[in-house]
């Protein structure tokens, strides 16, 4: 059983200009004091086409974590526009928050991010080269997609059996109003784990 469960992730300052930092207020609960720190990461998916364009915006250690409920604000700088394919700059992409313990990822929270020009004129006629300074980032905070992985929380070396806590129910019926969901949730990392995991969605 997971020692840490995420209770809530609040997206702060949303929507915001493209260049302003991401801010997530994360509250989580820990059932037993952890010996080591948790590592949180924010990954910005530059392009749904390829993991190549994933940017790790920031990674931070969180600790010490005694048993109880905790919260912190995770702030990370905006993605580097130069690393984003021009064709993918405007439109829907994904930002991921992951948490690992002892190098094992146990939760992944994905949000759809819609980058668009708030200016109707620009929206109608987007410049050929995306003008990031004009772009507004809107995170669909109400629809996080949460994937949980079972990991080995103890120090002992026996690796976790790959039994997963499949949650058969959730994951359907997600109103897919925004089309490009390709790659959402799990772009890339640990593909081996993937089929065995279920996804919870809101």
């Amino acid at each position: 059983m997971a020692k840490v469960s995420v209770l809530n992730v609040a997206v702060l300052e949303n929507p915001s200009p493209f260049h302003s930092p991401f801010r997530f207020e994360i509250s989580f609960e820990c059932s037993e004091a952890l010996a080591d720190d948790l590592e949180w990461k924010i990954i910005y998916v530059g392009s749904a086409e390829s993991e190549e364009f994933d940017q790790i915006l920031d990674s931070v250690l969180v600790g010490p974590v005694p048993a109880g409920r905790h919260m912190f604000v995770f702030q990370a700088d905006a993605p580097d526009p130069s690393l984003i394919p021009e064709t993918d700059a405007v439109g829907v992409t994904v930002v991921l928050i992951t948490c690992t313990y002892h190098g094992q990822e146990f939760i992944r929270v994905g949000y759809y991010v819609n980058n668009e020009y708030p200016n109707p004129e620009l929206r109608e006629n987007p410049p050929l080269k995306p003008d990031f300074s004009q772009l507004q980032r809107n995170i669909l905070a109400s629809n996080p997609r949460v994937t949980r992985f079972h990991i080995n929380w103890d120090n002992n070396t026996d690796r976790l059996e790959a039994i997963e806590n499949h949650d058969p129910a959730l994951g359907c019926g997600f109103p897919l109003s925004c089309t490009p969901i390709k790659g959402l949730g799990l772009p890339g990392c640990i593909p081996g784990l993937l089929p065995e995991n279920s996804m919870d969605c809101i």
Partner: protein
């Protein structure tokens, strides 16, 4: 209600929509209260603790998880799941129990919730300390197959397990050893069932197994507690019985107005579920099942649970559905209240309820703040340990609200600013998270209203193969809800459409949803329930003296069974074993009378066969035992222990013994007592003590000058030696740290100081010496004509003067098996019949201080009064004399059954005799020990008069008067100090607050003087 799921999910359902149609339609009533998806694999079993505070679930992931309702969190949604499916109640996993190496098949809470048992396909049963998870108290090994069912005896004396190895095993909770293994009814069993959930009747008399066979028909075997007899069974199911579950209530016939008010026997109710998809409900007063419901499900029944009020039953099946059946009191009878039930337990098994519990305390008037202070102080210690947890629960009610006076909103605003951020050695950012709530790990917070409504446990399908198919494909609501069925005592099933999502507003959750249903008469009886259960372990005991007629035995099945087995020639032997119920009853009572109350005897089988032969075999055993110990001592270093001396070894056969006894009584005058005498030896050595090491060496007839023969006595003490000579041959010698004495021929007894100085001219004994003994400055001489003398050679006074052993040895051929001289010069004689007498110089009489066959010792049960650490290891002359017998007594009641009143009386009598014996032996340490125990028992059981008398004596006159006879000390202990020690004990029972206050005040006055 509570279900476990194949997907590793545990779901708590609200029962009110099941019970009431209105609630079902009301969209504001949540149907699903909480989902816990922490199990990694199929959940096989879920059980509420008796208090309703905890849930335990066990699954294929080899884990047992213990859940507790989280009180500090308000209802909230699970992050990442939609609002509709939010958990109305928060249940948090407080412990994960890891020990099993295979799937956990069943879990069971003991009646008092102090233990949790789990069984697994790893063939073991593990007993967990529920007060201190994850401590393991015992691992019961013995099954050679997958263990698939567990049940506790309702009084907590046994736990039973059933396994695929075609056996049912009963284990004792006293030592966690196997009590019995029952295999016969299962010999024919073929194939396997998913589960083998057996059950113990609420009155404790019957244990009913799952899947047994009788004449190739599937049955549920009834096993009687009395002798573990297997004469009866429930028959009728067409396929193997998977689950048996007794109704928690004991019932009695509904009194009809106008009919004669003849009190009917209470009876139990039992539900049996089978692989044949049908359910049968039986009353032990009926020959036939009360109701049989065929085709209830599409697949085998997996688990059954009764509601707490005993009128509802939930049944689940492998097909993924759960059915609810509702009975009326007309059908089942009037359930006995928990008080009546505990009275039955008490009269049958005996237990103490006298210590008032918290709930009862609240009604008592506190008359004295001192008392309160004292109790507070005690509680404080416990509280301190849980300090943080307790504090937390205080603020918990205000739910997710305020930390250090700041609202969560305020915190949020400033979180980023306040957040502590550091850099690690390798330059990484490290954030210290802000703790917004601690976990309530303590046991301090209860929610009674809640537990009153929670219904027992349930297990639903565990079709492992399905799990993969399930996942991803089936919408949440469908898979979770399954099909929920209600039934009103008829097989007509009303489907309850729980697959429609239950919308519920965010405003709703703050109220306790279950509290509204009111299906149970308040949490009151529940708390009492748990109270009773809590005191149950104090004095559980089996039944021997009680009449089985108290609870209607299952005669009906018996006769049915007999019919069947008579009809088939295949089982003539069995038929012979089952006399009619009446005969059996008689037989039982006969056996009871004949059975000697000896804890050593446990096999009831042998009783029945040779009840008459037993007493003699018993005494034989005892005798042999003694002889053995004596011999052991001899084999060791020569008389290593100067205080314990074997006197004689009589290895007569008990038969001869009894024959002789009669003859002796008739003809031989008692005056002919003759004790063995030591013969003259050329030389011998005697070790007086090993620390300091001290030896006495005797060399007789050392030729000295002029042909005169002398005897030499040599003594070596820690390397220092001295020597002296005596004129006559030395027959025996003895020594202590203070004196050395030798008995010579011509009845002479000489005494020397530790340095070899002669202290007295030789004492002339009345007859030749038999045994000589020294302790401190006391010298004891036992002569061949069985007279005993004790002198204090330092003070040069006589303690015991030529006292004859006639009175204690008279009339039989008993021998003295052990002699002890206490440090206070009190001689104690252990006789071969297990009795021990000490001579009381002040009364000039022999006092019986110990009797191995004392039935008091065996009936007494004061386990509950024993101090936490086992101070039974209290040593002293009394312990030496009584040996192991004294320790066996305290738990005898667990092996024996005595009505509570009788047990109380015997315990009191026993403890009193122990106190008196310790006093007579002047053993201050033991006196204190037994006095404390005695007082604790008095306090526990609420005996005021005796307690008052003790306190009065210990306190003495507060305002000193010259005419007072009162001694301020007893066996060297200051009485008032003793009283101070007793006060905290007395303070434990609020009933004695006046006594407590009085003593406290008077002690204060005395201190001030």
């Amino acid at each position: 209600m509570f279900t476990g799921q194949d997907s590793g999910k545990v779901v708590i359902w609200n029962m009110s929509p099941v019970l009431q149609e209105d609630d079902e339609k009301d969209e504001n009533v949540p149907k699903m209260l909480c989902q816990m998806d922490n199990h990694l694999a199929c959940v096989n079993c879920v059980r509420w603790s008796n208090s309703g505070m905890y849930l335990a679930s066990g699954g294929d992931d080899k884990l047992i998880m213990v859940w507790k309702r989280a009180t500090y969190i308000g209802p909230s949604t699970v992050f990442g799941s939609s609002g509709k499916l939010a958990n109305v109640e928060q249940w948090r996993c407080v412990s994960i129990l890891r020990s099993h190496s295979g799937d956990v098949m069943d879990v069971a809470w003991s009646p008092h919730d102090a233990w949790l048992a789990s069984c697994s396909v790893d063939n073991t049963v593990v007993i967990w300390n529920a007060v201190k998870f994850p401590e393991i108290l015992a691992t019961l090994r013995g099954h050679s197959g997958l263990v698939k069912g567990l049940t506790w005896d309702p009084v907590g004396k046994y736990i039973a397990s059933q396994a695929d190895d075609r056996s049912l095993k009963v284990w004792r909770t006293l030592d966690w050893q196997l009590e019995t293994s029952i295999t016969k009814p299962f010999d024919e069993c073929g194939g396997t069932t998913h589960v083998l959930r057996l059950s113990w009747s609420p009155d404790g008399h019957y244990l009913v197994s799952a899947h047994a066979m009788n004449n190739s028909g599937p049955t549920a075997q009834i096993i009687e507690r009395e002798g573990w007899k297997t004469n009866m069974d429930f028959v009728g199911h067409r396929k193997a019985v998977t689950v048996v579950k007794f109704n928690p209530k004991i019932f009695k016939k509904k009194q009809k107005n106008g009919s004669s008010a003849k009190p009917s026997c209470p009876y139990c109710c039992c539900a049996v579920g089978s692989k044949d998809r049908s359910l049968s409900v039986w009353l032990t007063c009926l020959k036939r099942p009360l109701v049989v419901i065929h085709e209830l499900f599409d697949k085998s029944i997996m688990d059954i649970s009764w509601t707490l009020n005993g009128l509802g039953i939930l049944v689940c099946s492998m097909d993924g559905s759960v059915a609810f059946l509702d009975f009326s009191q007309d059908e089942l009878g009037d359930p006995l209240s928990e008080e009546e039930k505990s009275r039955i337990h008490q009269s049958t098994y005996g237990k103490s309820l006298a210590i008032m519990t918290e709930t009862q305390l609240s009604t008592a008037v506190i008359e004295n703040p001192e008392m309160l202070k004292y109790q507070r102080r005690q509680q404080q210690q416990q509280l301190d340990q849980k300090g943080s947890a307790a504090r937390e629960t205080g603020s918990a009610t205000s739910v997710a609200g305020v930390v250090n006076g700041e609202s969560l909103e305020d915190i949020r605003k400033n979180l980023l600013k306040k957040q502590v951020e550091t850099r690690t050695a390798d330059g990484r950012r490290r954030i210290t998270p802000l703790c917004i709530a601690q976990l309530d790990t303590g046991y301090s917070f209860t929610h009674r209203a809640f537990c009153g409504l929670l219904w027992e446990v349930f297990l639903s399908p565990f079709t492992r193969d399905f799990s993969t198919a399930f996942f991803n494909s089936i919408p949440l609501s469908g898979s979770l809800a399954g099909t929920m069925l209600t039934s009103h005592s008829s097989p007509q099933l009303l489907p309850l459409d729980s697959s429609t999502p239950v919308p519920f507003g965010t405003s709703k959750p703050s109220t306790e949803p279950v509290a509204a249903t009111g299906t149970r008469p308040a949490g009151d009886s529940v708390s009492k329930d748990s109270v009773n259960a809590a005191s149950a372990p104090a004095a559980p005991s089996p039944s021997i003296l009680t009449t089985p007629s108290k609870i209607e035995p299952m005669k009906a099945f018996d006769s049915r069974f007999t019919e069947r087995s008579k009809a088939t020639p295949g089982a003539p032997a069995l038929a012979g074993l089952t006399p009619t119920a009446m005969e059996r009853l008689k037989e039982q009572s006969l056996v009871k009378e004949l059975r000697p109350r000896d804890v050593l005897e446990s096999s009831s089988d042998s009783d029945e066969k040779v009840p008459v032969a037993k007493p003699s075999s018993l005494s034989k055993r005892k005798l042999e035992l003694e002889v053995e110990t004596v011999e052991k001592k001899k084999k060791g270093r020569p008389r290593k222990d100067s205080r314990l001396m074997p006197m004689s070894l009589s290895v007569q056969s008990p038969a001869a013994l009894t024959a002789e006894k009669d003859a002796v009584c008739l003809s031989v005058p008692a005056a002919a007592l003759k004790l063995p005498m030591p013969g003259p030896q050329r030389a011998f050595t005697l070790q007086v003590s090993s620390d300091p090491s001290m030896y006495i060496e005797v060399e007789n007839e050392v030729t000295a000058v002029g042909g005169i023969k002398l005897s030499r006595l040599k003594c070596s003490r820690e390397g220092k030696e001295w020597e002296t000579v005596l004129t006559s041959r030395i027959l025996t010698a003895a020594g202590s740290c203070d004196v050395v004495c030798v008995a010579c021929e011509k009845r002479m007894l000489s005494v020397f100081s530790t340095c070899g100085r002669r202290l007295l001219p030789p004492i002339l004994l009345p007859s030749p010496i038999s045994t000589l003994h020294c302790t401190g400055s006391y010298v004891m001489a036992l002569t061949a004509t069985a007279t005993l003398s004790v002198w204090d050679v330092h003070r040069q006074i006589v303690v015991v003067k030529e006292e004859s052993l006639h009175s204690i040895l008279a009339g039989s051929d008993m021998t003295v098996s052990q002699i002890l001289l206490t440090q206070h010069g009190i001689p104690v004689m252990n006789l071969s019949d297990g009795k021990a007498y000490c001579f009381n110089p002040s009364l000039s009489a022999w006092n019986l201080v110990s009797d191995k066959q004392d039935s008091l010792a065996q009936c007494a049960d004061f386990r509950s009064s024993l101090p936490p650490q086992d101070a039974m290891l209290c040593s002293g002359p009394l312990a030496i004399v009584q040996g192991r017998a004294s320790t066996s007594g305290r738990q005898a009641a667990r092996l024996f059954s005595v009505p509570h009143m009788v047990q109380q009386e015997t315990t009191l009598a026993y403890l009193e005799s122990q106190v008196a014996a310790a006093l007579t032996l002047r053993s201050s340490h033991e006196y204190r020990h037994w006095l404390l125990l005695y007082v604790r028992y008095l306090v526990n059981e609420g005996f005021e008069y005796r307690l008052r008398e003790i306190c009065k004596d210990l306190l003495g006159p507060v305002h000193s008067s010259t005419g007072s006879q009162w001694e301020s000390t007893v066996v060297g202990l200051r009485k008032r100090d003793l009283l101070k020690e007793l006060l905290p004990v007395i303070g434990q029972n609020l009933r004695f607050q006046r006594l407590f206050t009085e003593c406290q005040e008077q002690l204060d006055i005395l201190r001030d003087k």
